[in-house]
Amino acid sequence: MPASTLARGVRRIGAGTIRAVSRAGFATRFFLLVLRHSPSAFHRLQLTAREIYFAGVLSLVVIMVSGLFVGMVLGLQGYDALNKYGAGDSLGIFVGLSLVRELGPVVAGLLFASRAGSAITAEIGLMKTTEQLSAMEMMAVDPLARIVAPRFWGGVISMPLLAALFSVMGVFGAYLVGVRLIGVDNGTFWGNMQAGIGFWPDVTNGIIKSLVFGIAVSLIAVFEGYDANPTAEGVSAATTRTVVGGSLAILALDFVLTVFMFRGLGSG
Protein backbone atom coordinates (compact mmCIF):
# COMPACT_ATOMS: atom_id res chain seq x y z
CA MET A 1 0.00 0.00 0.00
CA PRO A 2 1.48 3.38 -0.95
CA ALA A 3 2.66 5.46 1.94
CA SER A 4 0.33 8.37 1.17
CA THR A 5 -2.81 6.20 1.44
CA LEU A 6 -1.56 4.76 4.68
CA ALA A 7 -0.81 8.20 6.03
CA ARG A 8 -4.20 9.41 4.96
CA GLY A 9 -5.86 6.46 6.63
CA VAL A 10 -4.06 7.07 9.89
CA ARG A 11 -4.93 10.74 9.76
CA ARG A 12 -8.58 9.88 9.22
CA ILE A 13 -8.56 7.55 12.21
CA GLY A 14 -6.85 10.19 14.31
CA ALA A 15 -9.27 12.89 13.29
CA GLY A 16 -12.17 10.56 13.82
CA THR A 17 -11.00 9.66 17.30
CA ILE A 18 -10.52 13.28 18.23
CA ARG A 19 -13.96 14.06 16.93
CA ALA A 20 -15.47 11.17 18.88
CA VAL A 21 -13.74 12.18 22.09
CA SER A 22 -14.72 15.83 21.79
CA ARG A 23 -18.27 14.75 21.06
CA ALA A 24 -18.22 12.61 24.20
CA GLY A 25 -16.98 15.60 26.15
CA PHE A 26 -19.73 17.76 24.72
CA ALA A 27 -22.24 15.05 25.58
CA THR A 28 -21.07 15.00 29.20
CA ARG A 29 -21.30 18.77 29.49
CA PHE A 30 -24.74 18.54 27.90
CA PHE A 31 -25.83 15.93 30.43
CA LEU A 32 -24.74 18.14 33.33
CA LEU A 33 -26.55 21.12 31.82
CA VAL A 34 -29.72 19.08 31.45
CA LEU A 35 -29.47 18.07 35.10
CA ARG A 36 -28.93 21.67 36.12
CA HIS A 37 -32.06 22.77 34.28
CA SER A 38 -34.12 19.88 35.60
CA PRO A 39 -35.69 21.65 38.59
CA SER A 40 -37.67 23.84 36.22
CA ALA A 41 -38.95 20.71 34.49
CA PHE A 42 -40.50 19.72 37.80
CA HIS A 43 -41.83 23.16 38.66
CA ARG A 44 -43.72 23.03 35.40
CA LEU A 45 -45.07 19.57 36.04
CA GLN A 46 -47.41 19.94 33.12
CA LEU A 47 -44.51 19.87 30.67
CA THR A 48 -43.01 16.70 32.09
CA ALA A 49 -46.41 15.05 32.38
CA ARG A 50 -46.91 15.70 28.69
CA GLU A 51 -43.63 14.02 27.90
CA ILE A 52 -44.45 11.04 30.09
CA TYR A 53 -47.56 10.70 27.99
CA PHE A 54 -45.67 10.81 24.71
CA ALA A 55 -42.85 8.55 25.84
CA GLY A 56 -44.64 6.18 28.17
CA VAL A 57 -48.33 5.99 27.46
CA LEU A 58 -47.87 5.78 23.72
CA SER A 59 -45.41 2.91 24.18
CA LEU A 60 -47.84 0.93 26.32
CA VAL A 61 -49.36 -1.11 23.52
CA VAL A 62 -46.01 -2.11 22.03
CA ILE A 63 -44.53 -3.01 25.39
CA MET A 64 -47.46 -4.99 26.70
CA VAL A 65 -48.13 -6.95 23.55
CA SER A 66 -44.43 -7.76 23.17
CA GLY A 67 -44.30 -8.79 26.80
CA LEU A 68 -47.18 -11.14 26.29
CA PHE A 69 -45.60 -12.80 23.28
CA VAL A 70 -42.17 -13.05 24.85
CA GLY A 71 -43.73 -14.61 27.92
CA MET A 72 -45.61 -17.12 25.85
CA VAL A 73 -42.52 -18.13 23.90
CA LEU A 74 -40.55 -18.39 27.13
CA GLY A 75 -43.26 -20.65 28.45
CA LEU A 76 -43.15 -22.94 25.44
CA GLN A 77 -39.40 -23.12 25.00
CA GLY A 78 -38.78 -23.15 28.70
CA TYR A 79 -41.07 -26.04 29.36
CA ASP A 80 -39.58 -27.95 26.48
CA ALA A 81 -36.06 -27.59 27.84
CA LEU A 82 -36.92 -28.07 31.51
CA ASN A 83 -39.05 -31.11 30.87
CA LYS A 84 -36.04 -32.97 29.51
CA TYR A 85 -34.61 -32.92 33.03
CA GLY A 86 -37.91 -33.61 34.66
CA ALA A 87 -37.95 -30.07 35.97
CA GLY A 88 -41.15 -29.01 34.25
CA ASP A 89 -42.53 -27.78 37.55
CA SER A 90 -39.83 -25.14 37.67
CA LEU A 91 -41.33 -23.30 34.72
CA GLY A 92 -42.65 -20.56 36.95
CA ILE A 93 -39.34 -19.70 38.51
CA PHE A 94 -37.53 -20.00 35.19
CA VAL A 95 -39.84 -17.57 33.45
CA GLY A 96 -40.07 -15.25 36.43
CA LEU A 97 -36.34 -14.89 36.88
CA SER A 98 -35.65 -14.47 33.18
CA LEU A 99 -38.18 -11.70 32.88
CA VAL A 100 -37.62 -9.81 36.08
CA ARG A 101 -33.86 -9.88 36.02
CA GLU A 102 -33.10 -9.57 32.32
CA LEU A 103 -35.76 -9.63 29.65
CA GLY A 104 -38.06 -7.10 31.27
CA PRO A 105 -35.56 -4.25 31.54
CA VAL A 106 -33.57 -5.13 28.41
CA VAL A 107 -36.31 -5.85 25.87
CA ALA A 108 -38.53 -3.07 27.16
CA GLY A 109 -35.49 -0.81 26.96
CA LEU A 110 -34.75 -1.77 23.37
CA LEU A 111 -38.37 -1.24 22.36
CA PHE A 112 -38.39 2.08 24.18
CA ALA A 113 -35.21 3.21 22.41
CA SER A 114 -36.70 2.47 19.02
CA ARG A 115 -40.16 3.86 19.60
CA ALA A 116 -39.86 6.69 22.07
CA GLY A 117 -36.17 7.46 21.70
CA SER A 118 -36.32 7.98 17.97
CA ALA A 119 -39.49 10.07 18.31
CA ILE A 120 -37.83 12.36 20.84
CA THR A 121 -34.72 12.73 18.67
CA ALA A 122 -36.78 13.48 15.58
CA GLU A 123 -38.88 16.03 17.41
CA ILE A 124 -35.97 17.95 18.87
CA GLY A 125 -34.00 17.68 15.63
CA LEU A 126 -36.92 19.06 13.67
CA MET A 127 -37.32 21.93 16.10
CA LYS A 128 -33.66 22.70 15.59
CA THR A 129 -34.02 22.58 11.79
CA THR A 130 -37.00 24.93 11.73
CA GLU A 131 -35.15 27.34 14.03
CA GLN A 132 -37.71 26.92 16.80
CA LEU A 133 -34.90 26.32 19.31
CA SER A 134 -33.13 29.46 18.12
CA ALA A 135 -36.33 31.45 18.35
CA MET A 136 -36.83 30.27 21.90
CA GLU A 137 -33.28 31.25 22.79
CA MET A 138 -33.78 34.70 21.34
CA MET A 139 -36.90 35.05 23.44
CA ALA A 140 -34.71 34.47 26.50
CA VAL A 141 -36.22 31.06 27.21
CA ASP A 142 -33.63 28.34 27.57
CA PRO A 143 -34.63 25.43 25.32
CA LEU A 144 -32.67 23.07 27.57
CA ALA A 145 -35.04 23.81 30.41
CA ARG A 146 -38.23 23.98 28.42
CA ILE A 147 -37.81 21.37 25.70
CA VAL A 148 -34.95 19.03 26.57
CA ALA A 149 -35.19 18.45 30.32
CA PRO A 150 -38.90 17.50 30.38
CA ARG A 151 -38.33 14.96 27.60
CA PHE A 152 -35.33 13.51 29.42
CA TRP A 153 -37.24 13.05 32.67
CA GLY A 154 -40.30 11.81 30.84
CA GLY A 155 -38.19 8.97 29.51
CA VAL A 156 -36.46 8.23 32.80
CA ILE A 157 -39.76 8.02 34.67
CA SER A 158 -41.46 5.92 32.02
CA MET A 159 -38.80 3.24 31.63
CA PRO A 160 -39.07 1.37 34.98
CA LEU A 161 -42.86 1.40 34.72
CA LEU A 162 -42.72 -0.01 31.20
CA ALA A 163 -40.19 -2.67 32.19
CA ALA A 164 -42.39 -3.78 35.09
CA LEU A 165 -45.43 -3.95 32.83
CA PHE A 166 -43.44 -5.98 30.32
CA SER A 167 -42.45 -8.48 32.99
CA VAL A 168 -45.99 -8.78 34.30
CA MET A 169 -47.39 -9.41 30.84
CA GLY A 170 -44.60 -11.90 30.26
CA VAL A 171 -45.44 -13.86 33.39
CA PHE A 172 -49.07 -13.79 32.38
CA GLY A 173 -48.18 -15.07 28.91
CA ALA A 174 -46.13 -17.88 30.37
CA TYR A 175 -49.00 -18.67 32.72
CA LEU A 176 -51.40 -18.91 29.80
CA VAL A 177 -49.12 -21.25 27.92
CA GLY A 178 -47.77 -23.22 30.85
CA VAL A 179 -50.78 -23.69 33.07
CA ARG A 180 -53.66 -23.41 30.65
CA LEU A 181 -52.16 -24.93 27.56
CA ILE A 182 -49.50 -27.40 28.66
CA GLY A 183 -50.98 -28.29 31.99
CA VAL A 184 -48.35 -27.33 34.54
CA ASP A 185 -49.98 -27.23 37.94
CA ASN A 186 -51.22 -23.77 38.84
CA GLY A 187 -50.06 -23.87 42.41
CA THR A 188 -46.66 -25.25 41.53
CA PHE A 189 -46.17 -22.60 38.88
CA TRP A 190 -46.75 -19.72 41.27
CA GLY A 191 -45.38 -21.41 44.35
CA ASN A 192 -41.99 -22.24 42.89
CA MET A 193 -41.81 -18.80 41.37
CA GLN A 194 -42.48 -17.10 44.66
CA ALA A 195 -40.01 -19.29 46.47
CA GLY A 196 -37.25 -18.60 44.00
CA ILE A 197 -37.62 -14.91 43.35
CA GLY A 198 -37.01 -12.42 46.08
CA PHE A 199 -38.03 -8.80 46.09
CA TRP A 200 -34.45 -8.19 47.08
CA PRO A 201 -32.35 -8.74 45.02
CA ASP A 202 -34.29 -9.80 41.94
CA VAL A 203 -37.12 -7.32 41.56
CA THR A 204 -35.17 -4.36 42.89
CA ASN A 205 -32.20 -5.08 40.65
CA GLY A 206 -34.54 -5.27 37.71
CA ILE A 207 -35.93 -1.86 38.64
CA ILE A 208 -32.43 -0.42 39.04
CA LYS A 209 -31.48 -1.77 35.63
CA SER A 210 -34.50 -0.25 33.94
CA LEU A 211 -33.76 3.09 35.61
CA VAL A 212 -30.18 3.03 34.35
CA PHE A 213 -31.36 2.08 30.86
CA GLY A 214 -33.94 4.84 30.99
CA ILE A 215 -31.31 7.43 31.85
CA ALA A 216 -28.97 6.19 29.12
CA VAL A 217 -31.57 6.01 26.33
CA SER A 218 -33.25 9.30 27.24
CA LEU A 219 -29.93 11.07 27.40
CA ILE A 220 -28.82 9.72 24.03
CA ALA A 221 -32.19 10.59 22.50
CA VAL A 222 -32.23 14.23 23.61
CA PHE A 223 -28.54 14.70 22.89
CA GLU A 224 -28.73 13.39 19.34
CA GLY A 225 -31.76 15.55 18.67
CA TYR A 226 -30.08 18.65 20.07
CA ASP A 227 -26.82 17.96 18.24
CA ALA A 228 -28.40 16.94 14.94
CA ASN A 229 -27.42 18.58 11.67
CA PRO A 230 -30.29 20.94 10.88
CA THR A 231 -31.20 19.25 7.61
CA ALA A 232 -33.48 16.40 6.62
CA GLU A 233 -30.56 13.99 6.30
CA GLY A 234 -29.14 15.27 9.56
CA VAL A 235 -32.27 14.49 11.53
CA SER A 236 -32.58 11.10 9.90
CA ALA A 237 -28.99 10.26 10.76
CA ALA A 238 -29.56 11.45 14.31
CA THR A 239 -32.59 9.20 14.84
CA THR A 240 -30.61 6.25 13.53
CA ARG A 241 -27.81 7.05 15.96
CA THR A 242 -30.31 7.16 18.80
CA VAL A 243 -31.73 3.75 18.06
CA VAL A 244 -28.38 2.08 17.39
CA GLY A 245 -26.50 3.87 20.16
CA GLY A 246 -29.29 3.42 22.65
CA SER A 247 -29.62 -0.28 21.93
CA LEU A 248 -25.89 -0.90 22.20
CA ALA A 249 -25.74 1.11 25.40
CA ILE A 250 -28.51 -0.99 26.91
CA LEU A 251 -26.82 -4.25 26.05
CA ALA A 252 -23.43 -3.11 27.28
CA LEU A 253 -24.81 -1.67 30.52
CA ASP A 254 -26.83 -4.83 31.01
CA PHE A 255 -23.67 -6.88 31.01
CA VAL A 256 -21.89 -4.58 33.44
CA LEU A 257 -24.83 -4.37 35.81
CA THR A 258 -25.49 -8.10 35.69
CA VAL A 259 -21.91 -8.84 36.65
CA PHE A 260 -22.13 -6.51 39.62
CA MET A 261 -25.56 -7.50 40.77
CA PHE A 262 -25.70 -11.21 40.36
CA ARG A 263 -22.09 -12.08 40.90
CA GLY A 264 -22.66 -13.41 44.36
CA LEU A 265 -25.55 -15.70 43.64
CA GLY A 266 -25.02 -19.28 42.65
CA SER A 267 -21.95 -19.51 44.85
CA GLY A 268 -21.95 -20.27 48.59
Binding site: G96, V100, L161, I207
Partner: protein, 155 residues
Protein backbone atom coordinates in the same frame (compact mmCIF):
# COMPACT_ATOMS: atom_id res chain seq x y z
CA UNK B 1 -55.24 16.32 22.79
CA UNK B 2 -56.01 18.61 25.68
CA UNK B 3 -54.50 18.88 29.12
CA UNK B 4 -57.20 16.90 30.89
CA UNK B 5 -56.90 13.88 28.61
CA UNK B 6 -53.13 13.83 28.88
CA UNK B 7 -53.26 14.09 32.65
CA UNK B 8 -55.76 11.27 32.77
CA UNK B 9 -53.67 8.94 30.67
CA UNK B 10 -50.46 9.78 32.50
CA UNK B 11 -52.25 9.07 35.75
CA UNK B 12 -53.48 5.72 34.47
CA UNK B 13 -50.03 4.86 33.14
CA UNK B 14 -48.24 5.66 36.38
CA UNK B 15 -50.84 3.80 38.42
CA UNK B 16 -50.71 0.58 36.44
CA UNK B 17 -46.93 0.86 36.23
CA UNK B 18 -46.59 1.08 39.98
CA UNK B 19 -49.21 -1.62 40.29
CA UNK B 20 -47.10 -3.86 38.08
CA UNK B 21 -44.11 -3.30 40.33
CA UNK B 22 -46.19 -4.14 43.38
CA UNK B 23 -47.53 -7.24 41.64
CA UNK B 24 -44.03 -8.37 40.84
CA UNK B 25 -42.97 -7.78 44.39
CA UNK B 26 -45.85 -9.70 45.98
CA UNK B 27 -47.00 -12.42 43.63
CA UNK B 28 -43.83 -13.08 41.73
CA UNK B 29 -41.35 -12.30 44.43
CA UNK B 30 -41.91 -13.16 48.04
CA UNK B 31 -42.16 -9.86 49.79
CA UNK B 32 -44.98 -11.07 52.01
CA UNK B 33 -42.80 -13.69 53.58
CA UNK B 34 -40.95 -13.68 56.86
CA UNK B 35 -38.98 -10.51 56.18
CA UNK B 36 -41.91 -8.37 57.14
CA UNK B 37 -42.75 -10.13 60.39
CA UNK B 38 -40.86 -9.63 63.66
CA UNK B 39 -37.91 -11.99 63.94
CA UNK B 40 -35.16 -13.10 66.28
CA UNK B 41 -31.75 -14.60 65.72
CA UNK B 42 -30.30 -17.99 66.54
CA UNK B 43 -26.79 -19.29 65.91
CA UNK B 44 -25.59 -22.79 65.13
CA UNK B 45 -22.14 -24.25 64.42
CA UNK B 46 -21.49 -26.98 61.91
CA UNK B 47 -18.40 -28.94 60.89
CA UNK B 48 -19.48 -28.72 57.30
CA UNK B 49 -22.39 -26.83 55.79
CA UNK B 50 -22.11 -28.50 52.39
CA UNK B 51 -24.11 -26.59 49.79
CA UNK B 52 -26.07 -24.41 52.22
CA UNK B 53 -26.68 -20.99 50.65
CA UNK B 54 -27.69 -17.63 52.09
CA UNK B 55 -31.44 -17.15 52.42
CA UNK B 56 -31.90 -20.92 52.41
CA UNK B 57 -35.00 -21.90 54.32
CA UNK B 58 -35.04 -23.16 57.90
CA UNK B 59 -37.74 -25.77 58.27
CA UNK B 60 -39.32 -27.62 61.14
CA UNK B 61 -41.57 -30.54 60.19
CA UNK B 62 -41.29 -29.27 56.62
CA UNK B 63 -42.71 -25.82 57.45
CA UNK B 64 -40.53 -22.77 56.78
CA UNK B 65 -39.90 -21.04 60.09
CA UNK B 66 -36.90 -18.92 59.19
CA UNK B 67 -34.08 -18.17 56.78
CA UNK B 68 -30.29 -18.43 56.84
CA UNK B 69 -29.03 -14.91 57.38
CA UNK B 70 -25.25 -15.25 57.36
CA UNK B 71 -22.50 -17.83 57.27
CA UNK B 72 -19.10 -17.24 58.83
CA UNK B 73 -16.07 -19.33 59.71
CA UNK B 74 -15.05 -19.31 63.38
CA UNK B 75 -11.28 -18.69 63.36
CA UNK B 76 -10.61 -20.59 66.54
CA UNK B 77 -12.70 -23.69 66.21
CA UNK B 78 -12.71 -23.74 62.38
CA UNK B 79 -16.39 -24.47 62.43
CA UNK B 80 -19.00 -22.80 60.26
CA UNK B 81 -21.18 -20.44 62.30
CA UNK B 82 -24.60 -20.02 60.70
CA UNK B 83 -26.99 -17.25 61.80
CA UNK B 84 -30.66 -18.05 61.44
CA UNK B 85 -33.35 -15.36 61.18
CA UNK B 86 -36.31 -16.98 62.92
CA UNK B 87 -39.96 -16.00 62.81
CA UNK B 88 -41.12 -14.72 66.22
CA UNK B 89 -44.13 -16.95 66.14
CA UNK B 90 -42.04 -20.09 66.53
CA UNK B 91 -40.02 -20.90 69.63
CA UNK B 92 -37.63 -23.80 69.95
CA UNK B 93 -36.28 -25.62 72.98
CA UNK B 94 -32.67 -25.53 74.09
CA UNK B 95 -32.03 -29.07 72.99
CA UNK B 96 -33.30 -28.62 69.44
CA UNK B 97 -31.25 -30.42 66.80
CA UNK B 98 -30.30 -28.49 63.66
CA UNK B 99 -29.35 -30.61 60.63
CA UNK B 100 -28.32 -29.69 57.14
CA UNK B 101 -30.56 -31.55 54.73
CA UNK B 102 -31.22 -31.72 51.04
CA UNK B 103 -34.78 -31.70 49.74
CA UNK B 104 -34.96 -34.66 47.43
CA UNK B 105 -31.83 -35.96 45.76
CA UNK B 106 -30.80 -32.86 43.81
CA UNK B 107 -32.94 -30.27 45.53
CA UNK B 108 -32.00 -27.21 47.50
CA UNK B 109 -30.08 -27.44 50.74
CA UNK B 110 -31.90 -26.32 53.88
CA UNK B 111 -31.68 -26.48 57.66
CA UNK B 112 -34.09 -28.82 59.40
CA UNK B 113 -34.95 -28.33 63.07
CA UNK B 114 -36.12 -31.10 65.35
CA UNK B 115 -37.45 -29.83 68.67
CA UNK B 116 -36.45 -31.55 71.89
CA UNK B 117 -38.22 -31.84 75.20
CA UNK B 118 -36.35 -29.18 77.19
CA UNK B 119 -38.84 -26.73 78.78
CA UNK B 120 -36.38 -23.84 78.40
CA UNK B 121 -36.75 -22.04 75.04
CA UNK B 122 -34.00 -20.40 73.01
CA UNK B 123 -34.06 -16.59 73.05
CA UNK B 124 -32.76 -13.96 70.63
CA UNK B 125 -29.04 -14.56 70.15
CA UNK B 126 -29.24 -18.06 71.56
CA UNK B 127 -27.17 -20.92 70.29
CA UNK B 128 -28.33 -24.31 69.06
CA UNK B 129 -25.82 -26.71 70.57
CA UNK B 130 -26.82 -29.92 68.84
CA UNK B 131 -26.03 -29.85 65.16
CA UNK B 132 -25.58 -32.33 62.38
CA UNK B 133 -23.39 -31.37 59.49
CA UNK B 134 -24.12 -31.90 55.85
CA UNK B 135 -23.47 -35.23 54.23
CA UNK B 136 -20.54 -34.76 51.91
CA UNK B 137 -20.71 -37.30 49.12
CA UNK B 138 -16.95 -37.81 48.82
CA UNK B 139 -16.56 -38.58 52.50
CA UNK B 140 -19.44 -40.98 52.29
CA UNK B 141 -17.81 -42.84 49.43
CA UNK B 142 -14.47 -42.76 51.20
CA UNK B 143 -16.14 -44.14 54.31
CA UNK B 144 -17.83 -46.85 52.32
CA UNK B 145 -14.63 -47.93 50.61
CA UNK B 146 -12.76 -47.84 53.92
CA UNK B 147 -15.38 -50.01 55.55
CA UNK B 148 -15.36 -52.34 52.60
CA UNK B 149 -11.60 -52.58 52.71
CA UNK B 150 -11.41 -53.14 56.48
CA UNK B 151 -14.21 -55.71 56.46
CA UNK B 152 -12.51 -57.42 53.52
CA UNK B 153 -9.12 -57.57 55.26
CA UNK B 154 -10.70 -58.71 58.49
CA UNK B 155 -12.06 -61.81 56.83
Amino acid sequence: MNKATIDLWVGIFVTIGLGAIVFLALKVGNLTSIETKPTYRLDASFDNIGGLKLRAPVKAAGVIVGRVESVKLDNKTYEAVVSLRMDNGYQFSKDTIASILTSGLLGEVYIGLEAGGDPVMLADGGRISKTQSAVVLEKLIGQFLFDKASSGSAK
